[in-house]
Amino acid sequence: MALRPTVGQQFDLTLRRSIPVALAILMLFLGILPWNTHTLGPLNANLVLIPIYYWTLHRPRLMSVWSVAALGLVGDLLGVAPLGVNMMTLLIGYRVAVSQRKLFAGAPFLMVWAGYMLMSAVADFAQWVLVSALQAQIVDPRPAILLYMIGAVGYPLCAYCFALIQRRSLVRVF
């Protein structure tokens, strides 16, 4: 007969299950802290795409489409870009990650990294198209390309940190 988990164990499990979304929220807020990086361009490089991609590959049940949409909405309200654009961008990125999951889960890191760059490129391109359409003119894509590159370079470090957290706290949590 299987033992029923205690309230404490259930609470612990819930906390552990919320780690991926909590990390995504953390990345969202880290991206808007006043780092004073204007010479480089703003740091808010859709950093939240990194945890979405990582956890969709490694713990898909802990990064649901609802969480992704909620993250997008919060990002939309924190910024001044047209409402809905961030949400749509993250949903498109999420959809690309889901479609790649079988291909990249368990693949060598370089391949996973390339997968992130592909997913981020699709999401960022979609964002550029949406912003241009909503502003009824072709906006300069260069700042967005810079931000895409920051995200691409930042992925290995973030993925390393997430892997550590996964090994320590999410070994038996699915």
């Binding site: 808007i32 802290l33 489409v65 924190l78 910024g79 001044v80 870009a81």
Partner: protein, 305 residues
């Protein structure tokens, strides 16, 4: 056993279908939000101010270690450059003393001329100094969140300045935090004037660190180093606020380097000049009625009481 396998595969299929349905539903929601955002900006603005009010204390706490680290790095840098800095300051002091003499002469001359014209001095501006707690810029927008809101007297449309010059204007005001749209933002437009030639233009943000001068007259004589100041047209900002200087012309486009160092904005001053500008008209304020505080622009208009 077969029945168990069948029910599991059914559950997986149901979950997959639900996920796909949720995805489509959420994509449609995002589209709907884009339409709502276009149609009803007031609702969106209220939702945004509510959220920035909620996150302001967290962002304030989170941004303090960054500010401390930056201060420490600045102090180390200053110590390293102390000798050079001293030489520079001695030279600057000599120049400033010369300017002080000229300034005193002009001050007395100005006082005499004002007396002759019965000139009414400008109303004193009031200001709030607020720390920058979030940089909500992205590839397509340039904005900041500061820790001062309606409870501190911040009003939509106020000028945001640093000691060096104009930075932007207050876009949204929450109870305890506000959003500042930077001059570099794609949608930012400020009427300016080239100080040397007095040619009027509009400073237009382009999401880069160097906004452009637009709507200048043809064959205008603009040189690198020309000072750009606000013109006061539109009534949002008073005339003469320093903005930046021309850095060059590329493909017929004139770019401006702002005086305010965007990479070093820890605090902003939100200044209320009590101007009856078009931004106040956006808010539904009747700007035709006289304000309790005298408007500096009205004092300058010929025939104004």
């Amino acid at each position: 056993m077969k029945q168990r396998v069948g029910s599991v595969s059914l559950a997986v299929a149901a979950r997959t279908w639900t996920q796909k349905f949720a995805f489509v539903l959420l994509v449609m929601t995002a589209f709907g939000m884009m339409l709502v955002g276009k149609a009803d900006t007031l609702v969106v603005s209220r939702a945004r101010t509510l959220l920035i009010d909620l996150v302001a204390p967290i962002m304030d706490a989170a941004s303090r270690p960054i500010a401390s680290a930056r201060d420490a790095a600045d102090q180390v840098q200053q110590l390293i450059q102390l000798k050079q800095e001293n030489e520079r300051l001695v030279h600057e002091n000599q120049t400033l003393l010369e300017w002080q003499t000229i300034g005193r002469e002009l001050q007395s001359q100005n006082a005499a001329l004002r007396d002759m014209l019965k000139f009414t001095p400008d109303a004193r501006a009031t200001y709030v100094t607020a720390p920058v707690i979030a940089d909500t810029s992205s590839g397509y927008v340039r904005s900041l969140i500061v820790l001062a809101g309606a409870q501190d007297g911040v009003v939509k449309g106020q000028a945001a300045i640093t000691g060096a010059g104009l930075v932007g204007r207050v876009l949204e005001v929450g109870r305890r935090a506000s959003r500042v749209l930077l001059l570099t933002d794609f949608s930012a437009r400020v009427p300016v004037v080239v100080e040397r030639t007095r040619d009027q233009a509009v400073l237009a943000g382009n999401n880069s660190d160097n906004p452009e001068l637009r709507y200048l007259p043809r064959d205008v004589d603009i040189k690198a180093g020309d000072r750009i100041v606000t013109s006061g047209v539109g009534g949002n900002f008073p005339a003469g606020l320093p903005v930046g200087e021309v850095i060059g012309v590329v493909d017929g486009r004139i770019y401006v380097q702002l005086y305010a160092q965007l990479e070093r904005m820890e605090y902003l001053r939100l200044v209320n000049y009590s101007l009856p500008g078009i931004l106040m008209q956006d808010l539904g304020v009747d700007t035709t009625k006289s304000n309790t505080v005298a408007s500096p622009l009205m004092g300058r208009l010929p025939g104004a009481q």
